[in-house]
Amino acid sequence: MNIVRISGHAGTVPGENASREYAVAKLIDVTTCIGCKACEVACLEWNGYPFRETVFDNTYQTMPDLEWNYYNLIRFDEHVKEDGNLSWLFRKDGCMHCAEPGCLMACPADGAIVQYANGIVDFNQDNCIGCQYCVTGCPFNIPRFNKETKKVHKCTLCSDRVGAGLEPACVKACPTGCLHFGSKDDMKELGEKLSTQIRDNTSHKNAGVYDPPGVGGTHVMYVLHDAQNPERYSGLPRNPTIPLAVRIWKGPLKWLGNAAMIGGILGAAIHYLRFGPKKEDGPHA
């Protein structure tokens, strides 16, 4: 695959735009997800992670949260609708593969996070220094830290499979076909088509595609029954952006800091040339 951006990396990106690759995307049609968790299992099996002991927690959800070796969790959420009926929502949670990835922006380690030309944002644990700035940079709260290895992990969108021309493991395993994979353009079109169909033929008049512009769009998108209220889907952010503090930190503050540091050193040097040292025994009147 073709890399376009590398975290913490000075200079040009090797192989940038060296070959043609189209942007890929996964489209999650929440309206036809049945919460079967086949994607969770496929993810574990493809990535070679172990099954773990879980505890009943008054929910169908496998466990409370993502973990460093559990990239993909269906979140179960219940809401009483306006008409008094209950809606039971299943949202497959995992990395959104932002076009403008906050994790990558925040990451100081050379080559720990790469963004490929096809849109996949991948973590390279060999280069990860374990600072977890990516956790802070992520508007979706996705990266998870392995305390033992001091490395951060998240969904790779099966970059290994995709690089070999396959679809991600979760998509392969999805029995209802609520997970779609293809070019970003095709997935957007499909998402719009599905949303239109839902709006026209069901009571969900606010159906729409979740492809938040605040992070430049994502390479994992949702079709939601109610795109006006993404928070209903276990707290999907309404308008996610890279946190302001991270943007200040990596933007103005950085340039200010650079200028100040360089200016300070230069200033000292010029000062020395102009005024030189003080006399050791004080002013000579």
Binding site: I129, T136, W249, M261, G264, H271, F275, P277, E280
Partner: protein
């Protein structure tokens, strides 16, 4: 002076006791390590520093640990010197004349106690900078237990605080090494000549 008096020549006075010097150098060593590794995390153009110091992961591992050391010695230093660091009317007078001091027009600079106002400002900047670095650093250290807004604010604060200390540090280093001959020797050996003391800290020498 509670410490043992260093051997000194008749025309010398003790400026820094052993414990003061130890405190200063431990503090500065930890600071320098954090500065170096911090700069590596600050910009990709300096990431080579982390590589040089054993690799990114190693640097990341030790940076907060050493940082805690820095913060602790900053407290030690504070306890040691705070009594000499209160800003006085004299200091305000000195600050008004700071330009004269900076342009080596030292004849027009009022006589100073043990520390001049510039040193005092540096002292306070470093101490509060260290406090800010410690608090924000803890938040950055354990991000998973901290709410997102606090985490990102902490990163911002950590970096801003670091920049303040770096600015102060550049001045401190420049002054100590280049501008005021004898000050480096003072913080190393602890002794200064009476002449030096009279020139730079006249009022202190009188009280000595």
């Amino acid at each position: 002076m509670p410490d043992r008096i260093p051997d000194r020549l008749p025309d010398e006075v003790v400026r820094y006791s052993f414990s003061e010097r130890l405190c200063h150098w431990v503090n500065s060593a930890t600071y320098c390590y954090c500065l170096a590794t911090g700069l590596a995390f600050y910009t990709p153009h300096l990431f080579w520093i982390a590589v040089t110091l054993g690799g990114g992961a190693t640097s990341r591992y030790w940076h907060p640990v050493v940082g805690v050391g820095f913060a602790l010695t900053a407290i030690w230093m504070h306890r040691t010197w705070i009594s000499d660091m209160h800003i006085t009317a004299l200091d305000r007078e000195w600050l008004r004349k700071a330009k004269a001091y900076a342009t080596n027009d030292d004849a027009n600079v009022p006589g100073q106690g043990r520390f001049n106002a510039g040193q005092k400002v540096f002292f306070h900047a470093m101490f509060y900078g260290a406090a800010a670095l410690l608090l924000s650093g803890i938040a950055v250290w354990f991000p998973e237990r901290i709410p997102a807004w606090l985490r990102s604010s902490a990163i911002l604060l950590h970096e801003a605080a670091a920049l303040v200390t770096i600015g102060a540090f550049i001045v401190h280093l420049y002054m100590g090494i280049f501008v005021v001959p004898g000050s480096m020797a003072a913080i190393v050996h602890g002794r200064v000549s009476r002449r030096w003391a009279a020139a730079h800290h006249r009022l202190w020498l009188k009280s000595e």
